[in-house]
């Protein structure tokens, strides 16, 4: 089964409601707990960045910030299409949904390591 993206760049995307993010910067990963599906995912840096940007804005705006953020970072540039593939994968896992967050409480709980 192929991964699919929102139909239009103007479609808004958000992190799934109730998601809890737990960065593990020492390992270069972020754990994402989805309590609705009872799943704990380990995100690579690309997925971690995409998910952290999915705050209800249109897909095109998030893609632009993704590219801007990467340009400001050291290290190798991600492959062409990394954003689209990453977003599609996050959507297939249910970690990102189409639409704006309805309430503040539905935004992901972002944590920094204590």
């Amino acid at each position: 089964m192929g991964l699919t993206l929102p139909s239009f760049p103007t479609d808004c995307v958000s992190a799934a409601p109730g998601l809890r993010l737990r960065p593990v910067p020492e390992m270069g990963t972020c754990l994402a707990y989805d309590p609705d599906r009872a799943r704990l995912h380990t995100l690579n840096p690309t997925a971690w960045l995409i998910l952290s940007l999915c705050d209800g804005r249109p897909r095109a705006a998030i893609a632009a910030e993704f590219a801007t953020t990467l340009r400001g970072l050291a290290g190798p540039a991600p492959e062409q299409g990394a954003f689209s593939r990453g977003l599609a994968r996050l959507m297939s896992l249910g970690l990102v949904i189409t639409g704006s967050p309805q309430t503040r409480s539905s935004s992901p709980q972002k944590e920094t390591a204590p």
């Binding site: 020492e26 599906r37 009872a38 799943r39």
Partner: protein, 337 residues
């Protein structure tokens, strides 16, 4: 001087295992906690555990693995699960006692992430003899069925002993047939009542390796085991609490360490400041198996069995064929008898 070997370093641990009680309706011959039917004096209450979970959540823990004793023997355990699962990936290890259809309904509703069920044999006679309880096998089988029927992922766990070794493939087939996703084959640890009967249940390492080499899992069933070349020193990421709230790093270190009580000290305080905890996590060991360190990114293998057999935290793990160095795993050191 830089140590020869070093494990990965976590500033804070994301996952924790919690032994919620040392009460259990079974009387397993090798019980690591010397459990009894009644809870022991000093076990934390459910309200106390709620406060602990609140604190652990604030400290950044995102996964809780509950075990016992028998967790379902703890009154109020399901209430605790229901307040934990919305915040942490929640796993429960059980022998199946008390996990009936109604309990499985609550586990499913609470969105428990995985249930791990111990099997001590592929048939009732073998399992019940080790469990010390007639009907224990049927309870375990029923518990697996209740969870699978509700789409709760299930793992089967089996400790490799003289009685389970000849039945491993039958256990794999049974687990697969029941709908378990994975089977974890665990080493036998010299803890609790296992020490008293060690000579009768422990296998020499060569026999353990032969039993593992003979595994023929059904297609689709994942088998997990931690012998060579996957012998991990997982202490670098390990956090654990016993039933009394003592911080012990790993359940298999329960008889060797105590970093203080969670009611007196935040977990991260022990993690960051206890010298022994830091030492055990470091991976500063005398020898490291290249194959295992290559696959597991850690060094020296399990610290519990290394310490048990050698009495030194830096010692090599004798359960690894490349680090065994002539240790007979079927015979306990005198100080453990």
């Amino acid at each position: 001087m830089q140590p020869a070997f070093a494990n990965p370093v976590l500033e804070t641990p994301p996952k924790i295992s919690i032994s919620i009680t040392e009460a259990c309706p079974h009387a397993c011959a090798h019980c690591y906690s010397d459990c009894a039917r009644a809870p022991k004096a000093g076990e934390l209450s459910i309200p106390a555990w709620r406060r602990v979970i609140d604190g652990l959540t604030e400290e950044g823990f995102i996964q809780a693995y509950f075990e016992g004793g028998e967790p379902f023997a703890k009154p109020g355990f399901l209430d605790l699960i229901e307040t934990t699962a919305p915040r942490m990936m929640t796993l429960v290890r059980t022998k199946g006692a008390g996990l009936d259809a109604a309990v499985a309904d609550r586990l499913a509703a609470a969105r428990v992430g995985r249930v791990l069920v111990d099997l001590m044999g592929a048939d009732a006679a073998t399992h019940d003899a080790t469990a010390g309880a007639a009907g224990a096998f049927d309870q375990a089988i029923a518990a697996i069925g209740h969870c699978v029927a509700r789409a709760i992922p299930v793992d089967v766990l089996v400790v490799l002993t003289r009685s389970t070794a000849p039945q491993l493939n039958a256990i794999l087939a049974l687990a697969h047939g029941l709908g378990a996703e994975r089977v974890g084959i665990l080493r036998l640890y010299p803890l609790g009542r296992a020490k008293a009967i060690w000579g009768g249940i422990a296998l020499p390492l060569a026999d353990q390796m032969a039993a593992l080499a003979a595994l023929a899992p059904p297609p689709g069933l994942k088998v997990m085991q931690s012998w060579h070349p996957r012998d991990q020193n997982c202490c670098w990421q390990a956090a654990a609490l016993n039933a009394f709230g003592d911080m012990i790093g790993c359940q298999y270190l329960r008889e060797y360490v105590n970093y203080g009580n969670i009611r007196d000290r935040p977990y991260l305080d022990a993690w960051r400041n206890d010298p022994l905890y830091k030492q055990i996590r470091s991976g500063n060991v005398e020898a490291s198996c290249p194959d295992c360190s290559g696959s597991q990114r850690s060094h020296g293998g399990c610290r519990s069995t290394a310490f048990a057999f050698h009495g030194r935290w830096e010692a090599p793990d004798p359960f690894d064929v490349t680090l065994n160095d002539g240790v007979d795993l079927a015979v306990l050191p005198d100080r453990l008898r």
